[in-house]
């Protein structure tokens, strides 16, 4: 059959069939181009204006970024993100890996135990924050529990201590996400070639050294994925702060996401809020680009 014949025979229905895939994808393409990239551009634009309660297009150059630079609260929020993010990621990884290795030892009720480690991940950060706010309540929470149990001098008021309140956020976030790290690594451990482990055992290597020297190093990609997801959770953390501390006491537990929300939607500092949102995007990109780069490079090697 010549291609000519096909064209002459093409009925409107065939043409429609040929265009259907593109037609079906079209709404999503519009959504992505406008709702993702267009809106990012729009926010970018707003960050160069002096918009307050309403958007205005009075361009003031980099003034909003300069104001952020001089803003004490923004520095507190950024430093908190480093402390919170660093501790949250490190502790979640350590606990997650440790639990995964323990669960990998042919535990009989593994499925049941896994369910327990992972259930906090199903909860909203608002629920988690509410629960931990109560657990860490100075006066009635852990504080009182340990005193009731006989530890007379025990005091625990980190939740209202400006220097320590960030650690409260870390505790709740670790409780919520470490089970997820466990699940990721358990899946990774299951994919490790068992014959390598057995060979190392025959050579007389002890189990911890097998895990530390052979198994875990081979899980580099899982580490990387977990690291990136946790970092992403940390940067976006907003609900947890909102429900646990509302950024307080004062703004001691502020995070960039909270700063952005407060300035944009309650304090009428839209330009400043937009600038802070752009910096958050920058932070995500700083993590994402190396990740994607290594993913793509890894694929080329295969």
């Amino acid at each position: 059959m010549s291609s000519n014949a096909v064209i002459t025979k093409a009925s409107p229905l065939d043409v429609l069939q040929r265009w259907l895939p593109k037609l079906v994808l079209a709404p999503s393409m519009v959504i992505v181009l406008v709702g993702f990239y267009g809106y990012i551009g729009w926010t970018f634009l707003l960050s160069f204006t002096n918009s307050r309660f309403m958007p205005s297009y009075n361009f003031v150059g980099l003034q909003q970024y300069a104001r952020l630079w001089d803003n004490d609260r923004w520095w507190v929020a950024s430093q908190n993100l480093l402390v919170f993010g660093g501790l949250f990621i490190a502790i979640s990884l350590i606990i997650g890996v440790f639990l995964a290795v323990l669960l990998d030892q042919r535990i009989r009720r593994e499925g049941f135990i896994r369910t327990i480690f992972l259930y906090p991940m199903a909860l909203s950060m608002i629920v988690t924050g509410t629960a931990w706010k109560w657990l860490l309540n100075p006066g009635l929470g852990l504080d009182k529990l340990l005193r009731d149990w006989g530890w007379e001098g025990f005091r625990f008021d980190w939740l209202v201590d400006p220097d320590r309140v960030v650690y409260c956020l870390v505790m709740a976030a670790v409780w919520q996400s470490s089970g997820f790290v466990m699940a990721l690594f358990l899946a990774g451990l299951r994919s490790v070639d068992q014959s390598i482990i057995r060979a190392a055992q025959v050579d007389g290597a002890s189990l911890p050294s097998i895990y530390l020297r052979i198994v875990l190093p081979s899980l580099g990609p899982v580490f990387f994925s977990a690291l990136m997801i946790l970092a992403h959770i940390a940067i976006k953390s907003f609900d947890l702060v909102a429900s646990m501390t509302a950024g307080g006491p004062g703004y001691a537990s502020d995070l960039p996401a909270m700063f952005m929300y407060a300035h944009t939607f309650t304090r009428g500092q839209m330009g400043l809020g937009a600038a802070s949102a752009m910096l958050m995007l920058g932070a995500v990109l700083a993590i994402l680009v190396p990740y994607l780069y290594s993913e793509l490079r890894g694929k080329r090697h295969e």
């Binding site: 809106y39 189990l207 909102a242 429900s243």
Partner: protein
Amino acid sequence: MNDVSVAQRRSSDVLLPPGEGGAKRRMRAVSLSRLAIHTTLVLACAVYLVPLLVMLLTSFKTPDDIRSGNLLSIPDVFTLIGWVKAWDGVGGYFWNSVKITIPAVLISTLLGALNGYVLAMWRFRGSQLFFGLLLFGCFLPFQVILLPASFTLGQLGLANTTEGLVLVHVVYGLAFTTLFFRNFYVSIPEALVRAARLDGAGFFTIFGRILLPMSVPIIMVCLIWQFTQIWNDFLFGVVFASGDTQPITVALNNLVNTSTGAKEYNVDMAAAMIAGLPTLLVYILAGKYFLRGLTAGSVKG
């Protein structure tokens, strides 16, 4: 933390190569380290369960009981007053969440399935590029789109409406739902679709007759992922809804963080349980799919 290091040290004895000598001593070492592993796991389970247990215990206490007892004390009398008051406070918002979540989950899943189908089976020039652009949406910090999105909702007359929230959740859920289906369909042999095309089957026939019936697992993953994401959302709820249309997460946060009157922790905890129960229930009933959704975005190829 102490148990942790003990367990690690003990487990060094475990699983030595089955040599010839000292088998008995080794057996004892093995069972000791097994015991250490199990003890550590049980303790860890307790730590993970305590917050839930405390929430439940507190929710059944009276305010006086809360002040005289402690986090883990058993209620003097189990009372449902906290739950009743909590439902009075957040019950209406619970239904708001239902009204937002169900349509948003269904629409975003359907769109994701269609998108994934096209991106996997009907590639055209630029479709890969589009997929890349879409994937970035999985990592987008939503702060960067909040302002334009709220202007747009205002323009459309959807500010502070349930429909508006549904729209926002559909749009920003698209990246994940498409990713799920695209990665699932990519693993299905294209020959299957090509054969059906030669037989004259059209775009939707192939989708409905061939692909959809084998998509049940990924549909489950997607539905559960979207359900937990949207039910648990706070950011969109607090920005795009107000008053009567707020979802339960926002209502819970308002309830817990208002400083008027005496704090009723039993009500707070009951309300938190009400907000958490739907996703918890889904997780318990369909944990397998929940886990697969969590890992699909991260260990995908």
